[in-house]
């Protein structure tokens, strides 16, 4: 057959097209096509309608502007050298979660996607997998297990959900549960994926199924939500074309920042390591561990010091140390990406928990997957890890030897090993002028890491030489640690030499150059030089250079930050302008810090030390401000002061007609910007040439200022006012603030910057966390994600949370006050005891025993504080035991407090023992006079509704009191007093530590009393008074009313009892005799005969019918018997088949399980 060629399309864009347009004189600036008349409206109605439609569309487009705390994505432009913004930190990879019931094809999809992006075939993808998806974007894929805990945790961090649905089965409960979890924690983007559609054979059924599922999906997400369908699996992957299409959708997906994630820094750990020393673990295997977690930071900045975090499933922890690492999966650089398509080299993958390139990390070992017979010379394509391991074999010597033979020792004779302490201060790298000074040996060891380091080190804005020096230094550090780590072989990274993460970027507290240290360096160098005669040229005048540079630096500035955040100087000394501690001061301050030698000082007595006003020496002040010159020197600070520059005498230069912009304004305008160089001169008359140029500059500036002022006054109202509506204004303000945020710390060294502003989103960091329960490591399973959620200052506290809650309408049971439920709120999952209540006439919060049906109510429980307006969902249990919908309630936080005001109704009852007209004495309501006194004046009520008041306690029966009523009450009335009893929720906070369990789904929380009884086989104790007894109501018999005869007689007739005796005589109708005529007799006889005949006829007919029926029943009975026999046969066949199948399934499942296990070991 003839192959059809691709039809030629004329270019409709691009340079060629533009050239043609230019040649033809076509102007397409108005729209796409070139037909100016094409889309005009013919009638005014149509025009009106069109205008309204566009206006509506415009409004629909608008959303409340939200700040995005992640860095902006790069913009790739056609212009070379622009757009890639390499200096800037790229945003972290977007997290794409693959969610669905087991067996739906999540792993298959993951494999397909990874293959699509990186050309890697993963055997068993596990944990987060980060890939570079394009020049601007990276993606972290993570597979979500089917258990609720994983779904809750991942729902809080994923940016995009690939929700997989088994098309042949339909939606499963877990899918809906997951969607509801998403809904209450901020809805990320969701793409639906239908799989197993190849199981539906009939085309029309397939079509119907697709349509049905699509519409159900749309009602859950939104109308028109994306739903893909994936056809069958080929080679263990989905068809390439479909995956391509899906990946295209993923790569153009835009994300709206979610409020919660905008407030909390977080990290999805893609690697975990135990840093506890082996020896200590051996001594006590259950010792609290020190672990490190690795991952990309997201959200706002992570505090650099003692950041409080929560690891869902593990608890609240504190980060003891943060280190920024170079990006393990960087975006392609500009140099490498000149072409339109992304190069193969740039398609990186970072998946430490998976088996990328045959290397797989487990909790305490590295597995190397060697396909077939392993030979080093084999030129088969090597994976990243494999290559590294092979490179390891190239070394002939041990690391220790390497260290020995390398040039790392600073001075030839120094025998002391270089100790790299944690608190290593980063010093200025001494410029390399004469050959390599440091780490010549690591060239052959760390070739590739070096390369990748420098490539990945996008953010070092030092000069080239410094970058080199620093890199060398850190490599050196690595080497030294190798030497050290021989004995404690626990550090995985070092043991394997697998520096996937590149160098460790050192971060120290005292980042800036300390003056003393520079002195120290200089001194030590001096000594060295003195001892060593034949030193290289570059070493010779090091000390001089250091000294001069130090002097320069000191002359230039005193670094206020170092002083303020250092501990050498007291605040008073800094404020007084001192830069270095005098020796005596230093001594005393050092002593003061040391508790052992505590010197009693002035500041521990007296009243001074807690005041905002400075102590003023009024004499000195007077002397200073009595001086006329001094008084005049600040004239320029006033609006009426001299306009323009001032000379030595403080007189303004006024020769030119138009005055100058004032120097203060100049400085305020940021003209002088660069560090004291462009400082306005005060009191020194400038030279003529300078003056000339200054005047011109000032004139220009003034003109600009005037123009700005004019624009401000006149343009705002008519032009800008319309252009910038509220929405645009907000957006532009946000953009401006964002720019400011970026610019403010731009000049500072990246680590010093992190100390001020924290670790920014997009950085790859290593968090060191101490005092982690050992179970986290012991029972670590990469299938369960580890998420590090940052906590705000308030969120570590505990209090009573009042939430608005609604029972989920799919949850079958009502919720009862004080029954434990599990909340997923903020980062946390915890069990607590809520009390439900409702606002009662805006007077009080009244307790509810059960949640109302189809209605919101309030709930108050004890737990960690969460910002109001945070959404949550709640569960009765997280286990798999229940078939139904497991989300029991959803809601939002309203209020946080330390006390609650929930009340429940309390009715006190009493009975009267003496009744006067409106006064009654009531007993049995209170037990003592004191109690009565407390309720004096309280409203009481009888059952019949007579209202009254408590008056005063009585002496005699203890607790009795006098009360008045609005009417006379009866002795049998019950009097009750309605009171309100305040209730505090019980303080239970039980975090769901599912990650610490060996079997992650086996978490057991607090049980209900009923559950405990059921589990323990205890009978419910029965209070005899609580038992229901049949109510016996005796019919009341009333005595007949008897009126005395005497009275009867004197009554008037109207009032007399009129009791009539029953009639004894027969009435006329009863007593008359009936005599029939002959005619009548005949007629009646005839009628009787006819009736008899008819009866006989009917009876005979009935008999005959019965006979026929009998016959018929017999026939039917035979047929039924045959039928039943057939059915029975069929049933037997079916059960037989099913039994066989089940047996086979069980056998195969066992086999599978066994296989899996084997694979793991």
């Amino acid at each position: 057959m003839e192959q059809s060629h691709k039809v030629h399309h004329k270019p409709s864009a691009g340079t060629k097209h533009a050239k043609k347009d230019a040649a033809n004189g076509v102007d397409r600036s108005g729209g796409k096509g070139f037909n100016p008349k094409a889309f005009t409206n013919t009638s005014y109605r149509a025009a009106d309608r069109a205008a309204r439609r566009t206006a509506e569309k415009d409004q629909k487009r608008l959303h409340v502007p939200l700040v995005n705390r992640n860095p902006e994505e790069r913009k790739v432009t056609a212009v070379k050298g622009q757009g890639m913004d390499e200096g800037k930190l790229p945003p972290p990879p977007i997290i794409v979660g693959l969610v669905g019931p087991p067996g739906v094809g999540k792993s298959t999809l993951l494999r397909s996607l990874v293959r699509r992006y990186t050309k890697h075939n993963l055997n068993s993808p596990q944990g987060p997998i980060t890939v570079v998806s394009g020049k601007t974007r990276r993606i972290t894929f993570i597979e979500c297990g089917n258990d609720l805990n994983s779904m809750i945790d991942l729902g809080k961090v994923v940016d995009l959900v690939l929700l997989m649905i088994d098309g042949s089965f339909g939606f499963e409960m877990e899918t809906f549960e997951f969607l509801n979890i998403l809904q209450s924690h901020g809805f990320p983007k969701v793409i639906g994926l239908l799989t197993h559609l190849d199981l539906i054979k009939k085309a029309s059924t397939l079509k119907d199924t697709k349509k049905r599922l699509k519409h159900r999906f749309w009602t859950e997400i939104y109308q028109g939500a994306k739903l893909f369908s994936l056809s069958g699996v080929m080679n263990g992957r989905y068809p390439d074309a479909e995956i391509n299409l899906l990946s295209r959708f993923i790569s153009v997906m835009k994300f709206r920042p979610l409020v919660f994630r905008n407030q909390h820094p977080y990290l999805l750990a893609d690697r975990i390591q135990d840093m506890t020393s082996r020896e200590r673990i051996r001594e006590n295997p259950k010792i609290d561990r020190t672990i490190t977690l690795y991952g990309y930071l997201r959200g706002p900045n992570l505090p650099p010091r003692n950041a409080k975090i929560h690891i869902p499933g593990a608890g609240d922890l504190e980060v003891s140390n943060v280190e920024r690492l170079s990006d393990p999966c960087p975006l392609p650089t500009l140099e490498s990406e000149r072409r339109r398509k992304m190069g193969e080299k740039a398609k990186l993958i970072h998946a430490p928990m998976s088996d990328v390139g045959g290397v797989m990390y487990d909790k305490d070992a590295v597995y190397i997957n060697v396909p077939g017979s392993f030979s080093k010379g084999g030129d088969a394509p090597q994976g990243e890890g494999e290559k590294m391991v092979m490179d390891l074999q190239d070394t002939n010597r041990t690391f220790a030897d390497n260290i020995q033979n390398s040039e790392i020792r600073l001075f030839g004779h120094s025998s002391a090993p270089l100790e790299v302490s944690q608190k290593r201060t980063r010093r200025a790298a001494v410029p390399r002028s004469g050959g390599p000074m440091l780490g010549s040996a690591d060239d052959n060891e760390f070739d590739e890491e070096d390369g990748s380091d420098e490539e990945g080190d996008l953010y070092d804005d030092d000069t080239e030489g410094q970058v080199d020096g620093l890199n060398e230094e850190s490599d050196e550090e690595g080497d030294v640690r190798y030497a050290d780590s021989d004995s404690e072989n626990d550090d995985l990274e070092l043991a394997t030499g697998f520096q996937q993460d590149g160098k460790i970027v050192n971060i120290d507290d005292d980042e800036d150059f300390d003056d003393d240290e520079i002195d120290d360096i200089a001194e030590s160098l001096n000594e060295e030089v003195a001892e060593d005669e034949d030193v290289p040229q570059w070493k010779k005048n090091l000390s001089d250079r250091a000294a001069t540079s130090f002097a320069e630096r000191m002359g230039r500035r005193r670094d206020l930050m170092t002083l303020v955040y250092g501990s050498e100087l007291s605040p008073e000394e800094i404020a007084a302008g001192k830069t270095r501690p005098s020796s005596a001061d230093a001594e005393s301050s050092r002593m003061a810090q040391d508790d052992l030698f505590h010197v009693s000082r002035e500041e521990n007595r007296g009243d001074e030390g807690d005041q905002v006003k400075e102590i003023v020496n009024s004499e000195a002040l007077k002397a200073k401000w009595d001086d006329e010159d001094m008084l005049d020197s600040i004239r320029d600070m006033f609006i009426s002061g001299p306009i323009g520059e001032v000379d030595a005498e403080g007189n303004p230069y006024e020769e030119e007609g138009e005055g100058f912009e004032d120097i203060e304004d100049g400085s305020a305008d940021g003209e002088q910007g660069d560090d004291g160089d462009g400082v306005p001169y005060v009191g020194v008359k400038p030279s003529a040439g300078d003056h000339e140029s200054a005047r011109a500059a000032a004139a220009a500036k003034k003109q600009a200022a005037l123009k700005a002022k004019f624009d401000e006054t006149y343009d705002d109202e008519d032009e800008d006012g319309e252009k910038m509506d509220f929405y645009d204004q907000q957006k532009s303000e946000m953009a401006k603030q964002r720019q400011l945020n970026e610019d403010e710390f731009a000049g500072i060294d990246i680590d010093a910057r992190a100390q001020i502003e924290g670790y920014r989103s997009g950085m790859y960091v290593r968090l060191e966390i101490s005092e982690v329960p050992y179970e986290l490591i012991e029972h670590f399973n990469p299938a369960y994600p580890i998420i590090v959620g940052g906590l705000l200052a308030a969120e570590e506290r505990f209090g009573y949370l009042t939430v608005r809650i609604k029972r989920h309408r799919w949850f079958t049971r009502t919720l009862k006050t004080n029954n434990p439920i599990i909340f997923s709120l903020g980062w946390r999952r915890f069990q607590s005891l809520p009390i439900y209540h409702l606002d009662d006439h805006s007077i009080r919060n009244r307790l509810l025993k059960y949640t109302p049906e189809h209605m919101h109510c309030y709930a108050t429980f004890y737990g960690p504080v969460s910002t109001p307006n945070t959404g949550f969902c709640a569960f009765n249990s997280l286990g798999e035991e229940s078939n139904g919908f497991r989300i029991s309630a959803t809601g939002v936080v309203l209020d946080i407090d330390r006390s609650t005001k929930i009340v429940k109704k309390l009715k006190l009852t009493g009975v009267p023992y003496k009744i006067f007209k409106n006064t009654a004495f009531i007993k049995d309501m209170f037990n003592s006079q004191l109690e009565v006194a407390k309720f004096e004046g309280a409203n009481i009520k009888t059952v019949s509704g007579i209202r009254g008041q408590v008056k005063k306690a009585q002496n005699k029966p203890e607790g009795a009191f006098r009360a008045t009523f609005e009417d006379k009450i009866l002795m049998r009335d019950i009097v009750f007093l309605r009171a309100w009893y305040s209730i505090e929720p019980k303080k239970l906070y039980n975090p769901v530590c599912s990650l610490l369990l060996a079997d992650k789904g086996d978490w057991k929380g607090m049980r209900l009393t009923g559950q405990i009884r059921r589990d323990e086989g205890i009978k419910t104790p029965l209070d005899i008074n609580s038992a229901y007894k049949p109510i016996e109501r005796t019919t009341r018999r009333f005595n007949t009313l008897k009126v005395p005869r005497k009275l009867e007689a004197s009554l008037p007739y109207a009032s007399k009892t009129k009791i009539l005796k029953p009639q004894t005589k027969q009435t006329y109708l009863q007593s008359r005799a009936v005599v029939m005529t002959d005619e009548e007799k005949k007629a009646i006889t005839l009628l009787q005969q006819i009736q008899t005949l008819k009866k006989d006829k009917v009876a005979r007919r009935k008999d005959k019918q019965e006979e026929r029926r009998k016959e018929h029943r017999k026939k039917v009975g035979v047929i039924d018997e045959k039928k039943n026999e057939k059915l029975k046969e069929e049933k037997r066949e079916r059960f037989k088949k099913e039994g066989l199948k089940r047996k086979r399934d069980e056998a195969s499942a066992e086999g599978k399980y066994g296989k899996k296990r084997r694979g793991k070991e």
Binding site: Q263, D288, P303, P304, R305, A307, A314, G315, D316, L317, R558, M561, V564, Y565, P571, E572, A576, N604, R605, G609, D610, V612, K613, L621, K622, W625, I634, R635, M637, F638, I639, D665, S667, A668, V679, V682, Q737, L740, E744, F745, Q755, I756, E771, V772, P773, E775, L792, A793, A794, R797, T802, T867, P868, V892, I896, D897, R898, S899, C993, L996
Partner: protein, 368 residues
């Protein structure tokens, strides 16, 4: 069997009575407990002073769920902060310190309450040398809060004046609640366009106030014409229990930069009103000459509100940092882990202070 990291109850430790207020303030705001040891352990009168205990009482009063444990000797105490419910309070301050001492603690707390805060304070309204007078708080401190969006309903009413040592004054402080503070960029100090002042006198000749105004004008008149100094003479019951007088001055620039100064009469010293006025005026000139957009006595307050803002960069130009501010920065690092970027201009000695807000939002404020 499972060990879980529960709520961390770490306590920050400090020594000596110095900077006590800011530590209590930051403790309440950050929710971290503090323990202060060695309070005046070397003094003749060991331990907390009465006015400090009064302050702790006040802190306990305006919070819900705080606990304070003071040791027997009074040299150390433990403070677990509670939440801020807001509402109406009355407090009689100790006459050892003026109302400013107590207000300086309350003002930064008030915007973060659950309900609008209102407190009726009795005591000394002004005292020379240590704390800001109510006049200065009303005219200068509260406008500093306006910068951060705390505006509607923010006021300080001076009902009665009471000079040191016996006091007898009364002031009502009202503050609205906010959810978030605004992020501020304040670098233009502009030029001073007006000077205002309050000369007050209690239980002395009303002429004293006029004399103070006269002598202040003798210096200030040379700079700008827009000077308006009012005399505020309280009589009878409203003038408290002790004689006293003083002058509070403030200057406002074209960009609403406020500088202020004040001098008050001391209880047992004889000073002419002229001396006091001249001293106050010179202090104002000194303050102006230091430059910056924030008055030196308010550096700490403004810095605090910068850090409590959203996760954006605030930047404010200040004059040379005072020792109080520097200590405050050190304490901020302890409590919130906030480090300020300080860029000093070596010629003008002005300091550009910038920091990223910690995203502190008022969790106390309820939704419904």
């Amino acid at each position: 069997m499972t060990t879980q990291a529960g709520p961390s109850r770490d306590i920050l430790r400090f020594t000596t009575h110095r900077h006590l207020r800011q530590r209590i303030l930051l403790s309440i705001l950050s929710g971290k407990s503090i323990r202060v040891d060695g309070i005046r352990s070397d003094d003749v009168q060991v331990g907390l002073r009465d006015y400090e205990i009064n302050l702790l009482r006040l802190a306990e009063k305006v919070t819900n769920g705080s606990t304070i444990e003071i040791s027997v000797t009074g040299t150390s105490f433990l403070f677990h902060p509670g939440l801020l419910p807001g509402g109406n309070y009355t407090h009689t301050c100790h006459i050892g310190r003026s109302l400013g001492y107590y207000l300086e603690l309350l003002i930064p707390l008030a915007p973060f309450c659950k309900k609008p805060f209102e407190i009726n304070l009795y005591g000394v309204t002004g005292e020379e040398g240590r704390d800001m007078t109510v006049d200065m708080i009303r005219t200068v401190t509260l406008p500093h809060l306006h910068i951060f969006g705390v505006t509607d309903g923010l006021e300080l009413q001076i009902k009665k004046r009471g000079s040191a040592p016996l006091g007898g004054g009364q002031a009502i402080f009202k503050c609205p609640v906010v959810r978030n503070l605004k992020t501020v960029q304040f670098l233009e100090k502009g030029k001073i366009r007006k000077i205002r002042g309050v000369a007050y006198s209690t239980r002395v000749s009303p002429q004293f106030a006029n004399r103070m105004v006269e002598s202040a004008r003798s210096i200030l008149n040379r700079y700008i014409p827009d000077i308006y100094l009012i005399t505020d003479v309280y009589k009878g019951d409203d003038s408290g229990k002790s004689p006293g007088y003083g002058l509070t001055l403030l200057s406002q620039s074209t960009t609403s930069v406020l500088h202020c100064s004040e001098t008050l009469s001391k209880p047992n010293e004889i000073q002419t009103p002229e001396e006091i006025a001249l001293n106050s005026t010179r202090l104002l000139l000194d303050e102006i000459s230091k430059g910056g957009c924030i008055d030196s006595k308010h550096q700490w307050l403004v810095s605090l509100f910068m850090a409590l803002g959203k996760e954006d960069v605030s930047k404010i130009r200040m004059g040379p940092l005072t020792s109080h501010t520097i200590q405050f920065y050190r304490d901020m690092l302890e409590f919130f882990g906030t480090k300020y970027k300080l860029t000093e201009n070596l010629t003008t000695k002005e300091v550009d202070v910038s920091c990223i807000g910690i995203g502190y939002s008022n969790v106390n404020k309820s939704m419904a």
